[in-house]
Symmetry: C2
Subunit: 360 residues, 2 copies
């Protein structure tokens, strides 16, 4: 058995050299005589690991000094509550609905205040990003919320809503580090790491300092206050230390590849191989309108449930794993995150061509 | 460089054979062609990992069928809020104060209702477990809360408070799996795994089914409801999958050693080596009253800050790591969790004897 091409939507493929390094350091990390898993989070060795991870992430995303970087637990789902609990001072927020994950964020926001859905693409199974012109941003909205890349549907914001002086909050779980980001356009960016960064169990939050206050909603648990984690540099309680260590290695790996400009070029090249084929194929077609296509998640269908099932089965047998689409979309989905080698996409397209020739 | 003896209070030493297995499976787990870190949490392979982990834990602790086992995030600190948010129906709870961690739980409980501190050992730096006779349990208390083993102070409950029909809730972060437990005496047991079970970032909750209800305090985030996690078998959102996988391996390791009766015997033997020496030493002495001594955390002092510092420095140089006591107690603390080999304790005592001879 060897490693297969893993097109999972998340948890997802990680860079092989990161895994190799982690394996070689499992029993003894860097002369400490212990595994990173066994290390006090107050130790000098771990302090270096987390400080370094933050520094590399700051370099990659060019995060300004007036933003804090937090490594937290609970995933994006917990952020759906932390965001209103910390930011909803007027108990009003605007959300754009582009799929299951924004719907979950909306439902959670409603536990804490008035939520306005500015616009939605639900009418066409979220296969596009809604028109962002002339949005009626609420006058008293505490923030405007978007899901920047929609894992299930394969859409992505290529421009941002004009939110004026309102704070823009973005879930970037499935496209963080896939391309450069102008962090200054956001008040808060968050990402569960298990797609483009590391193992599940860590969520990265990038938050503008002035949004970190003691003034949270009544009944907010201590662990759900950004201020506690910011004041304690993500070490208020024991952090998910091993996960953070792997994230740090992935940050370094992206840096070595040339940073986010280089990463974007690679991702565009990789995605183009698949999209160009989908646009010419007589059997397969993409499900997303062209201008809103994600570089990370590529859903496609044959139009026949039977053929879709046959394709997924044969692809699996040939070493292309996790190509089944989400049940709400059907068909197939290839998640081609940063760590997916270009050869994986080339091989997949070759396989699709062969399947097309045999089944058209 | 080789592995040293790591007496850290947590994150702490893990069984070497578990780390070796994890290293060997890092790139390809069990014929899946991928690392456990890269695996969809909805995959068959991961379902087997989490189901197996739960099953082994149930076997070890003889957890009755009417209790659920949950693998959550956020550590013990998040449980300090989840417990009142889910259980404090009358907004009243009783706590026993045996150290810093119960104090934190008490402070968090106060965010949600009336907290009565039944008794405390703060008068003597938490060096004992308070008298548990004639406790004035509140008539309308929703639960009684204890911290079963106090990591910082090295104390442990050897009997339980008589709570009558009140639910007993216990933080067992630092002694879970160190000895058999009668789970039926508790309504809820929780433990951050980073001391006796696995890598930081997972918390195990064992909760009686009738306590899992929709009836939580208003404003409780979805992720902080036990019911959501119980209904979804800890897979409501992406769990800390790699951590759970390591926990499963540690559970198997304990099982292979003979389960909790065998583990208890080993722990008693290990602790006795250290306590017996402390009781006869003319230089070192334990700080805890004998009947309340922990099997896991052994604080001791020389009586001189200077000598303490000298000991810690020389011990570190000799390969005994993380022996510095918590700043609130001073002196030294040897945490001798399940994974600390008996030889580690023997070698430590030999080293202490040598130090005593040289410095008395």
């Amino acid at each position: 058995m060897s490693r297969i091409y893993n097109f999972s939507a998340g948890p997802a493929i990680l860079p092989e050299e990161v895994l190799k390094e982690a394996a070689s350091e499992m029993l003894e990390y860097n002369g400490t005589g212990m595994s990173v898993m066994e290390m006090s989070h107050r130790s000098k060795a771990f302090e270096e690991i987390i400080t370094d991870a933050e520094k590399t992430l700051r370099d990659l995303l060019k995060i300004p000094d007036n933003y804090k970087v937090l490594f937290l637990q609970g995933g994006a789902s917990q952020q759906f509550a932390m965001i209103p609990m910390n930011l909803m001072k007027n108990r009003v927020a605007d959300y754009i609905n582009t799929g299951q994950w924004s719907k979950k964020a909306i439902a959670e926001g409603k536990l804490f205040g008035k939520v306005n859905v500015l616009t939605s693409s639900e009418d066409k199974t979220f296969s596009y990003i809604p028109d962002l012109q002339n949005l009626k941003i609420s006058e008293d909205a505490d923030y405007v919320y978007i899901c920047h890349n929609n894992t299930i549907y394969g859409t992505k914001y290529n421009e941002l809503p004009a939110t004026g002086d309102k704070i823009l909050v973005a879930d970037m779980s499935s496209d963080i580090l896939s391309e450069p980001v102008d962090v200054t356009k956001y008040g808060l960016i968050f990402a569960g790491v298990q797609k483009n960064i590391g193992p599940a169990g860590v969520v990265v939050v990038i938050i503008r300092e002035d949004l970190i206050t003691e003034d949270v909603l009544p009944g907010t648990p201590t662990m759900l206050k950004y201020k506690i984690h910011a004041d304690n540099k993500s070490l208020y309680n024991t952090p998910p230390a091993y996960g953070i260590y792997i994230c740090g290695k992935v940050f370094k790996w992206v840096q070595k590849l040339g940073g986010l400009e280089a990463m974007q070029k690679i991702n565009q090249e990789k995605a183009a191989i698949l999209y160009d084929y989908l646009d010419t194929s007589k059997l397969f077609r993409g499900t997303v309108v062209k201008k809103d296509r994600s570089l990370m998640n590529v859903p496609f269908v044959t139009g026949s449930d039977e053929l879709d099932a046959k394709f997924i089965k044969e692809a699996k047998a040939a070493g292309f794993e996790n190509l089944k689409g989400h049940r709400t979309v059907g068909g197939m989905r290839a998640s081609i995150y940063n760590a997916m080698p270009i050869q994986g996409v080339k091989d997949l397209v070759e396989f699709m061509k062969k399947f097309e020739a045999e089944n058209l």
